[in-house]
């Protein structure tokens, strides 16, 4: 396979409010390849959004990237460790939007109501390209057309509150693509939308990815979306990636009990009518009170006392790119 465009190693992003410390991302690692989609999946609060924001270094205070590395292969071939960059420096700002576009979860509030959508898209263009006002406007209209907004010449002058949720998310995608980035991070891009719109937005992302050979990071809690879109999957639980691998292997032969539980909880049209939907027992532990050992142990059906609650399980390599962090596997292989 080709060289990764983005390579995250042992990323640690911690929040340090007055009351203590929350390890929102605690040692996540993954690689991203051009033209391919990496899905990051997990329950809400597992640290997937923080991981995505860490890549752009836009984590809200009191959160901070405290360790690990995020190596980006820039368009001129240079390798840059984003963790080492100044958060508000010129290079970081150049990467934001210029190399990595970001689509946010809430299209309702992710656009300012005080400026036209054209103004905001053109701002993104101006920030990374030397173009005249006229060129920027033409490009903005072109982008709106590309993301499937009808009558873009008129829409460019409307405000976000004049558009429907689906159209707003299309505008968000146009914004993210404005400076022709090579990576697109889509953070729950369809969560706030109704089902038919969801499908359209996913289809749009796939179409653009093919056209532009984009590397996509798709963050979602929805296994169905992953199945449809991703090439590779990383399953996150409480800041750690518990299992990662090619989408087929994960879906057909999930190893980690958490992954298995997640897959069981997908509603299926093929299931017996009125059958009970599987749920994961228990709930996510309080962020200040993480269980010792494997953090999934209180909810795990395969809990082994004296083992799972002692030390965190190491990563076990199952095949070329299938890894799992669970004591059920790799006995004798690792440790």
């Amino acid at each position: 396979m080709a060289e990764p465009i983005l390579s995250v190693r042992n990323l640690q992003t911690y929040f340090r409010p007055d009351e203590g410390i929350v390890r929102a991302v605690d040692g996540a690692s993954f690689d991203l390849y051009p033209g391919r989609t990496l899905g990051i999946v997990g329950e809400s609060g597992c640290g997937k959004s923080v991981t995505a924001r860490s890549i752009l270094r836009i984590v809200d205070r009191p959160g901070k990237v405290e360790g690990g590395e995020i190596v980006l292969r820039r368009h001129d071939g240079r390798l840059v460790d984003i963790v080492g960059l100044d958060e508000s420096g010129a290079e970081m700002r150049d990467i934001r939007g210029g190399e990595i576009g970001y689509v946010f979860q809430e299209p309702m509030s992710s656009l300012s109501a005080f400026y036209t959508i054209g103004n905001q898209v053109m701002e993104a263009i101006h920030l990374h390209k030397r173009v005249t006002e006229k060129e920027a406007r033409d490009r903005a209209i072109e982008l709106l057309h590309l993301v499937g907004i009808p009558r873009p010449e008129q829409r460019v002058d409307s405000y976000s509150f004049e558009l429907s949720g689906g159209l707003r998310q299309r505008v968000m995608i146009a914004l993210a693509l404005a400076a022709e980035p090579r990576i697109l991070i889509a953070d729950e891009p369809t969560t706030a939308l109704d089902v038919t719109t969801q499908a359209q937005i996913l289809e749009l992302i796939r179409k653009i990815q093919e056209e532009r050979k984009l590397a996509v990071v798709l963050i979602t809690h929805d296994m169905g979306v992953i199945a449809e879109m991703a090439d590779a999957v990383s399953v996150m639980y409480l800041g750690k990636i518990v299992e990662s691998g090619p989408v087929d292997e994960i879906f057909h032969a999930p190893k980690h009990p958490y992954t298995q539980a997640l897959l069981r909880s997908i509603p299926s049209v093929l299931a017996e009518p009125r059958s009970r939907l599987a749920t994961i027992s228990g709930s996510i532990p309080h962020p200040y009170a993480r269980p010792p050992g494997c953090t999934f142990n209180p909810r795990c059906g395969n809990f082994m006392p004296g083992k799972c609650d002692q030390a965190p399980p190491p990563a076990t390599t199952l095949s070329a790119d299938h890894e799992v962090r669970c004591f059920l596997y790799g006995e004798g292989v690792a440790t």
């Binding site: 923080v50 809200d60 962020p287």
Partner: protein
């Protein structure tokens, strides 16, 4: 974002059960205790109200005793130690003499005439807390009357002791604030409550009324109303009238707070339950709803109080509020109204110090209470 929000959820402590069982008022109190500045301000406020309560006891001379021969005496130095080094606080008696060029009285301390300070000394007689007649005061002199020799904060043009007048002024100004707020509160709870409880046309009408009242500049309005008070009214009548005038405008903010709370509470189950049980509207309001947002009311009140005090002080300062012989902070500051007066007797401005301290303390206190009552609002 969701992760960050998670991180904000407070620690789950062993005291969880205690918290669950606490009333709204108790919760507020626990949160309030953490605001150090607010707690200190609360103590300052209590201190001032105690001062108001014992104003006569703290005064040293009769606040109305005038003597042209004691006009504009500057604040006096207290000497703490006697010649032999023993701790015996005393003051020097003053000798007044007229400067023949400027015709102003100048005062020189006379070190040979020492007057020693005495606790619980005898002075003018007054009724202690309205209970019994006494002539004991906290401070006095071992010989002679304090009128002649004790001028802690100097005297005004008519030779009246500023310290003693300040004590009595504190009583008037603080009590006007309290009574004014009580009146405003009554109007505020009534109108705000009705507005929030019934909604609809009544709500709209009351809201418009509040909006109208708030868009009118208050001071010219107060001035106009206050100026119309007959000049032959007694001190008490004027006192009541001024309090009413001030609270006629002051209720709007309280009504706004009350209405907001009522709107939030109207949907609550316990109100419906009381309605179904056949309780009257008034009973529901005062028996069920008011207690549940008492802490909000307390916070709003402690923010309304300083506004009341400023209003009275301003009106009296203009000569339209309380009139002499009544004594309030505004009446005292009226003596310092022009540059000539301040240039001759800058100590008259000292009255401003307690005014500022009390208003600041109330504001800090109110802020702390508001945060404690509604940490998210």
């Amino acid at each position: 974002m969701s992760e960050a929000a998670k991180a904000d959820t407070p620690f789950v402590t062993a005291a969880e059960e205690k918290v669950a069982a606490a009333t709204q008022l108790q919760l507020t109190w626990w949160r309030f205790r953490k605001h150090r500045v607010a707690v200190i301000s609360g103590i300052v406020v209590i201190f001032f109200y105690l001062m108001a309560l014992f104003a006569d006891f703290l005064a040293v001379t009769g606040p109305h005793s005038t003597d042209a021969a004691r006009s504009y005496i500057p604040p006096q130095a207290i000497h703490w130690f006697d010649q032999d080094g023993s701790f015996k606080p005393h003051v020097y008696a003053l000798k007044g003499r007229r400067d023949m060029r400027t015709f102003k009285l100048v005062y020189a301390p006379d070190p040979s005439d020492r007057r020693y300070l005495k606790l619980f000394a005898e002075g003018y007689s007054y009724t202690f807390l309205g209970l019994f007649e006494t002539n004991r005061h906290l401070l006095g002199l071992d010989r002679g009357v304090p009128e002649d020799a004790l001028f802690l904060l100097g005297t005004d043009q008519l030779g009246r002791d500023v310290w003693s007048r300040l004590m009595l002024a504190t009583r008037t100004s603080l009590s006007i604030g309290l009574i004014g707020v009580a009146l405003s509160l009554f109007l505020g709870i009534l109108l705000g409550g009705v507005s929030g409880l019934y909604g609809g046309v009544i709500d709209t009408a009351i809201q418009r009324l509040i909006e109208i009242l708030r868009s009118i500049p208050t001071i010219p309005l107060w001035m106009g109303l206050a100026a119309a008070l007959p000049s032959d009214w007694s001190v008490t009548q004027v006192y009541i009238a001024i309090t009413v005038i001030i609270s006629l405008i002051g209720w709007t903010e309280l009504a706004r707070v009350v209405r907001g709370r009522f709107l939030a509470l109207r949907e609550e189950d316990f109100v419906t339950a009381a309605e179904l049980a056949g309780a009257s509207r008034l009973r529901i309001i005062f028996r069920h709803m008011v207690p549940s947002f008492l802490s909000h009311i307390i916070a709003a009140v402690s923010l309304a109080l300083p506004a009341m005090i400023i209003s009275e002080t301003t009106l009296s300062f203009l000569g339209l509020g309380l009139r002499p012989p009544a004594i309030s902070w505004g009446v005292l500051l009226q003596d310092a109204q022009n540059l000539q007066a301040i240039a001759i007797a800058p100590w008259l401005l000292l009255v401003a110090v307690p005014v500022v301290i009390v208003i600041l303390a109330f504001n800090f206190l109110g802020d702390g209470l508001r945060d404690a009552a509604d940490p998210y609002g």
